[in-house]
Symmetry: C2
Subunit: 200 residues, 2 copies
């Protein structure tokens, strides 16, 4: 552990690398993208628990802690949706600098918006996880009843119904929740993190 | 360490308390307020190094990483200054939930703005550190040449010259950099954190 060393600071500051040393793991944003009902949130919750059990430091950003706090002054216009993702990207970047794995679970349907977040980060610090599932599967799950409302025309511009979802072209990880169980999806991501040296 | 335990999760999520257990310390925002040149940034840098040496997880928010990132679309109008502090407060809150001590070093001259951040946090999670120094002292230091410009009228609305600074009424900690050395100031804050049980 770093605190047992006699560090000579030379006017420097605590860096990301110092934090990695203290934590004994690296840091990155794990960006879940996929349709409503694809399983982004569920997988991110389970992944966070698995990482915690392995002594890994994380934080999960989702609608609950972002839309009611940092982004409570944003609506759902195209500009506000873009600003929503931009702020989430900037906060993710700060948390990665702070030594955490940031688990961001948002539909984030547009390739351009996701790539802007990727551009914010250093190489290897943006892990795009495509949570793939057919619209039919997501609609059959419909955990929040949103597809039903979208089909009834009560919600306009719903991703997958009357607004596009742009799937990642070359994501770091794909999990197919039509086929894979929750446990298999989590294991796929953990294996990636270990194979790439993010975790000891 | 928590990872050695066999945790039964029961559908719960990783909480702030879990993170405190893993890190072996609590979390809070340490909010430095004071005039330009009072020593906020210098003290926060030194405090962060001292905490790191003790194995404590932190992150420092300052103009460099906030104004060029999350808040790059904000200017210096009264509304934008207020939104600047609001977003910093919301990010601080997320980082405290993530188990970190967030060291925020901004002039933050208005009591109301600081109190709004305090209100965001749980009891005991907002540690206001008043970095006290006379205008005369700060002006004699003038590390960025800003007082000179303000006196020459080249900068308008400069805190302490032609804009007010509202000192905290009941801050958790006061350091007086007219009197205390950098080391003494850092020690004062570390002692507070230990006395109040934030650190083991």
């Amino acid at each position: 552990m770093a605190q047992s060393k006699n560090i000579v600071w030379h006017d420097s500051k605590v860096t990301k690398e110092h934090r990695h040393e203290l934590n004994n793991h690296k840091s990155a944003v794990i960006w879940f993208t996929g349709l409503s009902g694809s399983g982004k949130s569920t997988i991110s919750v389970e992944l966070e628990k698995e990482l915690y059990n392995q002594g890994v430091r994380t934080y999960r950003l989702d609608g609950d802690n972002i839309r009611h706090g940092l982004n409570k002054n944003l609506g759902f216009s195209p500009e506000d949706r873009k600003e929503n993702i931009r702020r989430i990207g900037e906060v993710s970047k700060l948390m990665v600098e702070a030594g955490l794995f940031t688990l961001s679970a948002f539909i984030s349907p547009y390739r351009e918006d996701r790539n802007e977040v990727r551009e914010l980060m250093e190489d290897g610090e943006f892990i795009e996880v495509f949570v793939d599932a057919s619209v039919a599967t997501c609609e059959s799950r419909d955990p929040k009843g949103l597809y039903k409302k979208a089909r009834a025309g009560e919600i306009k511009g719903f991703t997958g119904i009357d607004a596009p979802y742009e799937a990642p072209i070359n994501p770091e990880v794909t999990v197919d929740t039509d086929q894979q169980s929750l446990e298999e999806s989590v294991e796929t991501i953990v294996k990636y993190l270990k194979a790439k040296g993010y975790l000891a």
